[in-house]
Subunit: 174 residues, 2 copies
Amino acid sequence: MNFDLGNSIAVLERTPRVVEALLSGIPDVWTTGNEGPDTWSPFDNVGHLIDCELTNWMPRVHVILSQSADRRFEAFDRLGHISRTKGHTLSELLAEFRQLREQSLSDLHGLNLTAAQLQRTGEHPAFGSVTLEQLLATWVAHDLGHIAQITRVMAKQYRDAVGPWVAYLPVLRR
Amino acid sequence: MNFDLGNSIAVLERTPRVVEALLSGIPDVWTTGNEGPDTWSPFDNVGHLIDCELTNWMPRVHVILSQSADRRFEAFDRLGHISRTKGHTLSELLAEFRQLREQSLSDLHGLNLTAAQLQRTGEHPAFGSVTLEQLLATWVAHDLGHIAQITRVMAKQYRDAVGPWVAYLPVLRR
């Protein structure tokens, strides 16, 4: 499927509602469990989504659209959420993510991006030249990937409880 | 994590809202795409969730709780949703799933299950003896697994559009 800005926004604007429908008010056992050492809980995933909103997506869009000859992205800190979320409740994080996503999409709408702008490029620290279109497609796939990760981590809390059915539940064996 | 009935219901009651937040009103390109031949689109996943509600979860709970000596489950038809969903819109399926889940949970609440009942067993066609607790834990993990599958299938529609970022998005390579 080719990139389409409207189709992309249709996913991006739904993510906060999806994450809230899944996690808001649910018992903590579901939101704090992870998949083992150095893996992320649903709480960590929400923190990471906030981190990306603050330091990755729209900041990189603006780097690409800048008139600067040097359009290198700052490296993204994959563990930035750990210090950022300390002392906060999941309920606070969900509200923050919703608000930040609204701001990001309002900012994106305001750019009225043209087809030519979508082909502009920036420099990714690892990949080199990437287009604005690729960045926006990645934003969409990244949202969906983290919803998949949150639900997988939750499912795994019942890995033993399902007994022999583990054989029919691939989500428990990833 | 040990099985807990309240924690399980907390997930089960959220699933219709999560699936609606994700899919309701979204452009069809996101709900009809799949992962290749003989794989399921998000539409198919919702159809399958309906099918399980009608022929799997609560019907099997009732088999386990029956006084019958023969408590074998009927085999579940993994492709039953294909004929059942033909000619229906996604919007219809989402409404049907929400309604069926409400009925299932109302039925489940009404049983006032005891700890002893959770250890009662039925006969699974492939696994043999399984407990009611394992069946209910499977219901939870199965819900979460299908939300993960829906979002993975959606993400994969942008597999090419993300360009080099595919290397950082494990959801696109499962």
